[in-house]
């Protein structure tokens, strides 16, 4: 551990966040399934509070060094960034899966940027909207931007005014097996947003689970 986090999430809050990520990415996967007409496999979601460096390292370890991502920033009570990321080598395969197999390579290359941006837009909006709705808040979502680069290019340095460089990093792998296509959705929040998120998670937990525990319940 390089720095003490100013905000810690309790086990229940972490569960709640994992659950929200799961709901969000499940809806995103359903959208992707409709686009590629094949089942999309999802991993068990992971949520962690890490430093920016750790997030960059995690990206580097998962895939090839060159990555392509679609990035959308969101603003509201909570500010952050959502990313759809996969190896750059798979970029054309994703486009081909989405636009269909009849197009020539030239057409696919020409459509690449647009198709990536649109795919990212559908998936990330499905994910963010589900999470925002469940938290009872709305967020403004920026237009998608396609970025190519290595891990560090996806996580620019934090605002100078915030001494903490810890970020919330949540990711779920997704895969389209027949096409050997995989990538993941990551979400990043800065510390001030994390403080607000903690409060919203408290309300969410109250709503979905309060009164659920009774003396007759028996946890093995």
């Amino acid at each position: 551990m390089t720095a003490e986090a100013s905000v810690e999430l309790s086990e229940l809050e972490r569960d709640a966040l994992t659950e929200l990520a799961n709901l969000g990415v499940s809806n995103a996967a359903l959208s992707l399934r409709e686009m590629v007409r094949e089942e999309v496999l999802l991993s068990v979601p992971k949520v962690s509070l890490v430093t920016r460096e750790e997030a960059v390292t995690a990206l580097g370890e998962k895939d090839a060094p060159r990555l392509v991502g679609v990035r959308q920033d969101f603003e509201g009570e909570i500010n952050g960034r959502a990313l759809l990321i996969f190896p750059e080598a798979k970029s054309l395969e994703l486009v081909r899966a989405v636009v269909g197999g009849e197009l020539s390579l030239e057409d696919i290359i020409e459509l690449e940027q647009e198709a990536l941006a649109e795919t990212g837009n559908v998936l990330l909006n499905a994910c963010l909207a589900t999470i925002a709705n469940n938290l009872g808040r709305s967020v403004r979502i920026s237009l998608p931007e396609v970025i190519y680069g290595e891990g560090a290019d996806f996580f620019p340095p934090p605002h100078a005014s915030h001494h903490s460089d810890r970020v919330l990093f949540t990711y779920i792998n997704f895969a389209v097996r027949q096409r050997n296509l995989q990538g993941y959705i990551a979400m990043l929040l800065d510390m001030p947003s994390l403080v607000i998120l903690k409060q919203l998670l408290g309300s969410f937990i109250e709503r979905v689970a309060s009164g659920g525990a009774t003396p007759s319940s028996d946890v093995v």
Binding site: E19, L23, E39, V219
Partner: protein
Amino acid sequence: MTRKVLIVDDSKLARMSIVKVLKALRPDWLTVEVGDPDQALASVGHEAPDFVLLDFNMPGKDGLTLAAQLRESNPGIGVAVISANHQAEVIDRARATGAVFIRKPLTEQSLAAFFDGAAGRGKFAQ
């Protein structure tokens, strides 16, 4: 009639929210919670639940594999797989094991439909 329901989910929050919906619907039913699939298999043996509600997306063993094992060893138990991942393939696989698929977030209506469906099939004919 009081029934016993085994709830299998690695998320404590998810278990709590399932219990909340269940208690609103069937206040007198008993609940047993476990946090992983292996505990679920052990628990079915000594708790003898009437129903099992299980999460699809769990570390180690997914809910569909567990549902298939439970249905095979205890065909009399009503099993429902609860998941936000409602792609057609997942729903089909759940049904192929003899389990019922219930979409997350869980509602009283969908849970009631599962219990009533089990009763309707004569599982609990009085």
